[in-house]
């Protein structure tokens, strides 16, 4: 529904709409950190290769024991894809819309009460939402698409473990929702070297300029010391932008890699994705810093990895 249609209808329906929408003012009860009661997972990390995003995601979830290990009955979920640019899926600037749709489907099957999708975009937000195909995929699967275009949606929080980044404003949905699922796309990045899971979290904060001004790699790692980090990271490496990132110039920047990395450890997920991109994790500033700060591990040899080749 268009925004203004909505206004008109709201004015018309009046109290009816308001009454039908008293789905609770979600409190900030999830600031305690990762989803409590998460069971021991069969693997630390799953890598899948050779299928379409939906098939690969289904495989990965099967390997990790299903979405019910992450989403409980009646919980609210935030799915945070990369929707940064006004480019279509073939350009691989944004997360694959089919993958986003499938994740939402899994969440609802696991009993989610509500699933929200948003990003703080770089290009004009509503154009990004539309052109990326993610708005449609999300709505078709019953998710609520939320804007992140004005400062009013963001709340200031203290990043206690941060070195350069100690205060930042994060999207209020993150504070209000039970589960936080991070769905980045793997791509080249002119300033952060690679944009993967940690870098994708720049889309949950308001003032990105601060990060750029105050040691970008350090800020990216700093944010991950904050208590509200993703409960699950699903890295889309189906189409991968190999150069000119993060926006890309044309489809010539993109190659078809047909891979996916899923992990609860954001540093490990980024390290694995870095490898499949063809780089060394220790060469990527923010991955190395995050590993040093103890956010997670980039040493993949220590992990129990499920490798699935379709």
């Amino acid at each position: 529904m268009k925004r203004r249609d909505f206004i008109l209808k709201t004015l018309g329906a009046g109290a009816g709409v308001a009454a039908g929408a008293t789905i609770g003012l979600g409190g900030y009860h999830n600031l305690m950190g990762a989803n409590p009661g998460m069971p021991q997972l069969p693997h630390d990390l799953v890598a899948v290769k050779g299928g379409d995003p939906v098939t690969m995601f289904d495989k990965a979830m099967k390997s990790l024991g299903g979405m019910k290990n992450f989403v409980k009955q009646n919980q609210t979920v935030v799915v945070k894809p990369n929707i940064g640019w006004d480019v279509p899926p073939e350009r691989a600037g944004n997360t694959n819309p089919n993958l986003v749709g499938r994740i939402i489907e899994h969440c609802f099957e696991a009993g989610a009460k509500k699933v929200y999708v948003f990003d703080h975009t770089c290009d004009k937000w509503n154009k990004c939402y539309e052109t990326s195909g993610i708005e449609k995929a999300a709505k078709d699967n019953g998710a609520t698409v939320v804007p992140g275009n004005t400062e009013g949606y963001y709340q200031e929080v203290e990043v206690q473990g941060g070195k350069s980044l100690t205060l930042t404003k994060i999207h209020e949905l993150l504070m209000e929702s039970d589960v936080f699922i991070n769905v980045p796309i793997l791509k080249h990045h002119g300033s952060a070297d690679l944009s993967i899971a940690m870098k994708n979290l720049m889309g949950v904060v308001w003032d990105r300029g601060y990060w750029h001004r105050n040691d970008l790699h350090q800020c990216i790692a700093d944010y991950c010391t904050y208590k509200r980090i993703p409960d699950l990271n699903i890295i889309d490496a189906y189409r991968v932008m190999k150069r000119n990132g993060p926006r890309g110039v044309s489809v010539d920047d993109v190659i078809m890699m047909k891979q996916m990395i899923v992990s609860t450890d954001i540093v490990a997920a980024d390290a694995a994705a870095t490898r499949i991109f063809g780089e060394e994790p220790s060469d990527i500033g923010h991955i190395k810093i995050a590993d040093n700060m103890g956010v997670g591990t980039m040493d993949l040899s220590k992990l129990n990895i499920d490798r699935v080749i379709l």
Binding site: A47, H212, M256, I309
Partner: protein, 529 residues
């Protein structure tokens, strides 16, 4: 024939024009096809005339139709097509004081025309235009004034209301109404709009269409034309009982009941006289049939001239005062100022000369621009270009995949560009200032500019003075389109480390060169971990 139906038709058409144009200027333009918007701006006299001077054709000939109608029936334009005229009617309907008995609005009186003033302004407008300045047209074109009133005064109110509603709904977990980021007010444009609203509002409530018959150059021009109109409203002396009802309802105050004459040069064709006359005494007189023609020679009313000059001085005083207060200071300073040689004009402007001499500052492009990068100019184009749209890269940047401003410009200041053409139209060129750049000053990674660049004209290259891993921006002038994404994204203050210097003449940018990547991936190969 029952002429009363004319008023109904007039009111119907005028409301459609007013509502559509109001909606378009408010923020709802993206709900209309560009063809619809262009349809409603097509007959707007001054924009159409200017566009015709740039690209003559059917699509720009609205002013010819309006001229013909005026020569036939008088100033039909003023009460049906002109949104500023219709808006004044609404003002006077809503706010005009009640007369005795409280049932009826205070009646209008016949007044003498302000010929020297109105024709003086018309002559000055024409002379300055011929001598190369569009300034007075920009200032006085009624369509553009209307656009600015809505854009500068009503639109912020709408944004505020939208955001309040958005905030309330958000609390109920409804996110369908997104809040709108407001990129700020251009003080000159805002002040001017406020001053015009005060002037026009006061005139319309007190004296009906006084503005149209004293200040508006289009009104004055049509006033001249309608003196020779083929059909003119007149009073049938045999039927007139001198009751004065026609005059009481005449917003132009142009009916002389005593002499049973209508000053048709001031008549805005609202047809109130026709419907208010109890004895059907108003009719269209064919000018070709001999009859005595009224002559209007009256001394100028000096009080109103003073009033006008006084108001103008006030406008200038207030706006320059506001401007003086503008102060850009920040706590974390960069050192090298970014002085643009030329401001960046919108896509489709072609050349600054053409643009500055054709744009009437209606700000339709400003309201249509999805990113709000188009803002009314302060003094970027100099004092004579105030209120014309300028690319403000501190407010936002030009969406690479958008060409809407070029498609809807009513005056031809912006000429249509196909999206593919627009993508390679270089509005200006990014200039990198290393001494302001975070990479250079702090020795840390940044690259926000290169991230946002749609063509990679701004790209990162190894930074020789750094630790070997750092990269610093570099600009390829040939493929830069001047969209301003780099400048907007640059985090340094008060001066950016990269800014776009406008092109006085837009040129074609080269296409980015792209080599094919090796796309061979073995999907059965083991993972590298």
């Amino acid at each position: 024939m029952r002429l009363g139906v004319l008023k109904k038709i007039r009111v119907g058409i005028s409301l459609v024009f007013l509502i559509i144009l109001f909606a378009v200027f408010l923020d709802f333009g993206n709900h209309f096809a560009t063809g619809v918007i262009n349809g409603f701006t097509w007959p707007q006299f001054i924009p159409s005339l200017l566009k015709f001077m740039t690209v003559a054709g059917i699509a720009t000939s609205g002013f010819i139709l309006i001229t013909i109608i005026t020569l036939l029936f008088g100033r039909v334009y003023c009460s049906t097509v002109c949104p500023l005229g219709i808006m004044q009617d609404i003002f006077s309907r809503l706010f005009r004081k009640r007369g005795k008995g409280k049932k009826r609005k205070k009646p209008f009186k016949f007044t003498k025309p302000q010929n020297k003033l109105r024709f003086g302004i018309l002559v000055m407008t024409i002379i300055t235009f011929i001598s190369g300045s569009i300034f007075l047209i920009n200032l006085l074109d009624p369509f553009s004034i209307f656009g600015r009133l809505i854009n500068n005064l009503a639109r912020p109110v709408y944004f505020g209301a939208n955001n309040v509603l958005s905030g309330i709904l958000k609390e109920f977990d409804i996110f369908s109404v997104a809040s709108i980021e407001f990129k700020g007010i251009s003080l000159v444009s805002f002040g001017m709009s406020l001053a015009f609203l005060a002037l026009i509002g006061w005139f319309s409530v007190r004296r009906g269409r006084l503005y149209c018959n004293t200040v508006c150059p289009v009104g004055a021009l049509f006033g001249l034309l309608s003196r020779v109109s083929l059909f003119r409203l007149a009073i049938k002396e045999s039927r007139c009982t001198s009751c004065g009802l026609c005059l009481f309802n005449c917003k132009a105050e142009c009916i002389d009941v005593k002499h049973k004459e209508i000053d048709f040069s001031r008549c805005v064709s609202c047809y109130n006289c026709i419907t208010s006359c109890p004895s059907n005494g108003i009719y269209f007189k064919n000018a070709l049939k001999p009859a005595k023609d009224p002559v209007f020679e009256t001394p100028v009313d000096r009080t109103k001239r003073k009033l006008f000059t006084g108001t103008s001085a006030l406008i200038l005083g207030v706006t320059s005062g506001l401007f003086a207060q503008k102060n850009i200071k920040n706590e974390k300073p960069t050192t090298v100022p970014t002085d643009r040689e030329y401001p960046v004009s919108p896509p489709g402007a072609g050349a600054l000369d053409h643009f500055n001499n054709t744009c009437t500052g209606c700000q339709l492009c400003v309201t249509e621009c999805p990113t709000q990068v188009l803002q009314p100019a302060m003094f970027e184009y100099g004092i004579w270009g105030i209120m014309q749209p300028v690319m403000d890269y501190h407010a936002s940047f030009c969406n690479y995949e958008c060409n809407i401003c070029t498609l809807i410009c009513p005056s031809g200041a912006l000429l249509p560009l196909k999206l593919e053409e627009k993508k390679f139209t270089q509005l200006g060129v990014a200039e990198f200032i290393k001494d302001n750049c975070v990479v250079h000053t702090d020795n840390t990674a940044c690259g926000a500019c290169a991230e946002h660049c749609p063509t990679k004209a701004v790209h990162m290259v190894p930074y020789e003075e750094g630790d070997g891993k750092l990269k610093i921006p570099e600009v390829d002038d040939k493929i830069c389109v001047g969209c301003g994404a780099c400048e907007y994204a640059c985090p340094t203050t008060p001066y950016k480390a990269i800014y776009v210097n406008g092109n006085a003449q837009h040129v074609k940018a080269e296409k980015p060169k792209q080599e094919k990547l090796d796309n061979e991936v073995d999907y059965k190969e083991e993972f590298p971990f």
